[in-house]
Amino acid sequence: MAASDQSPITKSYQPITWNFKLLANDMLGGFGGMGEGMSVQIAPDGRRIIWLAHESAPKNFTAVDVSDPRKPKVVCQTDLPHANMRSNSLETCGNMMAVAYQTSKKDLQPAGFELFDISKPENPKSISFFDCSGPHSRGVHQLWFCDGEYVHCASGSRDFTPTHPQDDQFYRCVDVRNPSKPVEVGRWWMPGTRQGDNVRPPTRHPIDKGFRAHNTNVYPQRGDRCYLAYIDGGMFVLDISDKANPKKVSQWTNSPPYTGFMHTIVPLFDRGLMLVTDESTENNAKDWPKLIWVLDARDESNLVPISTCPLPDHTIYAQAGRFGAHNIHENVPLPTAWQSDQIVLGTFFNGGLRAYDISNPYQPKEVGIFQPPAPPGAPTGTIQMNDVFVDEREIVYAVDRHIGGLYTLEMDF
């Protein structure tokens, strides 16, 4: 592969393909700026469809037939109602899909999530819309939906007035067993972030991204737990055995001295480990280091960080776009998702897609890199790899944040 002629990065930054095999790249009809929702459905007619969320308007979501991962084919691409919103996150469960809607400003519509019947992938049909708009709400940034019964999401609400405008999204659990009438059954927010709390508001970080919810993962192995990332508030393990009254089990944060924005928690139940990711949100690695952390979680009430997944020297990456951790493959508990507690796959913006062997969790070892050339027209002049998903066939899907669309790959380690 040749480096893009547009790349503003010095010679030492180069495309790398190491122990991954690229099968195909589809720029999704020129709308290849992708968010952090990736979910695989086996359609009733047997086709394998990956549903992809877009990072920003004008597109809502895109469905790609990846039955043959060497020849991906777009089968559906929908538009958002207006440009001041995004549908950054989605999940499918069987033939139902939940899509998050977040507005760029408060008190805009539609802010919430929408449920779709996707039994005919070319023609998704809206089932219902759960409204989360309000004078202090931007709606839903992220959602988790894999049991067909509950949507767990990072959301604002009409009745929630945060103590700081950035802290508008918190954990909400919505019962969708009757998908035409979703009903909220529980919520939790970090104490001090809602007006009226009897706790002082948290101290802001120098790079202030908000004390608000991000990923809200719930797994059947511990259906009574929500693994909640809370951006500048670190992370929480919640006891949701009583969904109406979630309770904090434990909290862990790396900031300060780090710069906040905790993003995703993936427990590795058999091993008593937990993966925690940061998100890099600043260009030119100004918020370096943003990492994947490995925690000893044998005692969930006392989480102990034991290692991080190693990244290369950031100086050669600190010249164009973001560099650092973001999404990882989350072992979504569905038959169409690969399950691994030995290999971690993560996206690192201009650091591409990277794989780590955590057989020895004290010494994670990098085993694969896919850092492709900048896609044509890339605004940063580099790849900005944003999200990754691995299906049960061990086909890897990775998406670019700005323009590059979908990459399909095989692991070779």
Binding site: S12, Y13, Q14, P15, I16, T17, W18, N19, L268, D270, R271, G272, L273, D296, R298, P312, D313, I316, S340, D341, Q342, I343, D357, S359, N360, P361, Y362, K365, E366, V367, G368, I369, M411, D412, F413
Partner: protein, 339 residues
């Protein structure tokens, strides 16, 4: 580590790998007697698309690095180990050079190479080089020898094999043999040389390369295919013998390991190369084992078998060790382990 953080995905030997190399950097060792055409072969390979992303380490027995100058333009990175033979005095240089390459790659100081080719001096014995890659403490943690390729010159090959123990050892330890300069030799000579090489090393395939023209894949693809038959019986004039031990029932790991420990303890220096694929009781995939003299590679379990056979197969290349004694040792240890 599995005691503290157990995983149902892992086998007794850790994470199951897609191939023996795992995620290590693949290495091709190119050997061949003086003037056999190693550098020409390498030049052609580096000029091919398959040769892109190759770092080259050249060992020359002389103060002036001529071969280095010949390949430098086409390799991603070239390191010259001068003034000594890589199998003896510069072996530590080889380790240092490889470690430096990895460090520089991680820090962006050299391009992100994907493989390494080591061109040894014509006088090198490949044995000690293989040994260097055997353990994690040496280079085995980062690098994996995918292939030992030995170039034999059609014109002078017979003479070299006749007169030089190093040349014979290069042929015996090869995974793949390449006869060069066949355009300069008559057909009968090439035929005699081919037969001689087949007798010396029946497990290696023999390719022909005129002016270095060889399918570039043959310079890098692992030799597993060639070894799958594990036909390796051969006896050599230097007391070097090769043979295969096969077993169609699952092997108890403890019994195999104890037998190998005994063999290494008594005769490690004479185990030139041992490589096997085992059906270990309790393991899902095959377990690959490899030994060079006293050193054992860490065993690895693969995700799947390379072919239909599930038989355990171990190739021994030994010096003055009788095949019958090894068979008896393995049979005895296995019998004792059952009681």
């Amino acid at each position: 580590m599995l005691d503290l953080f157990p995983s149902r995905e892992a086998g007794p030997f850790g994470r199951r790998l897609k191939h023996e190399r795992g995620a290590k950097i693949p290495v091709t060792v190119v050997t061949g007697f003086l003037g056999s055409g190693k550098t020409t072969l390498l030049q052609r390979f580096l000029a091919s698309p398959e040769g892109q992303g190759t770092a080259v380490i050249i060992n020359e027995f002389g103060a002036v690095g001529i071969d280095d100058a010949l390949v430098r333009d086409s390799a991603e990175e070239t390191v010259l180990l001068g003034n000594g033979c890589v199998c003896c005095i510069t072996r530590t240089d080889l380790q240092a050079a490889l470690r430096r390459l990895v460090f520089d790659r991680e820090h962006g100081a050299v391009p992100p190479f994907r493989r390494i080719v080591i061109e040894t001096s014509g006088l090198a014995d490949p044995g000690p080089i293989l040994q260097t890659f055997s353990t994690d403490r040496a280079l085995g943690g980062e690098f994996h020898i995918d292939l030992v390729l030995t170039v034999v010159d059609a014109v002078n090959g017979e003479t070299a094999l006749e007169g030089a123990a190093e040349a014979r050892k290069q042929a015996i330890l090869a995974d793949r043999l390449v006869i060069s300069k066949t355009d300069l030799a008559d057909v009968a000579t090439v035929e005699r040389l081919t037969q001689r090489l087949q007798k010396l090393n029946p497990r290696a395939t023999i390719d022909i390369a005129v002016k270095g023209a060889l399918d570039p894949q043959r310079v890098i693809e692992p030799a597993a295919g060639e070894r799958s038959g594990f036909i390796a019986e051969a006896a050599h004039s230097d007391g070097i013998t090769s043979f295969v031990i096969e077993q169609d029932k699952p092997i108890e790991w403890l019994a195999f390991a104890r037998a190998m420990e005994t063999l290494i303890g008594l005769r490690g220096a004479d185990l030139l190369r041992v490589k096997g694929i085992l059906d270990v009781a309790g393991c899902r995939g095959p377990v690959v084992v490899q030994y060079v003299q006293h050193l054992a590679h860490p065993p690895v379990e693969l995700e799947s078998w390379p072919d239909q056979s599930r038989n355990s197969r171990v190739v021994f290349i030994t010096r003055n060790i009788a095949e019958g004694d090894v068979r008896t040792l393995f049979a005895t240890v296995q019998a004792l382990a059952k009681n």
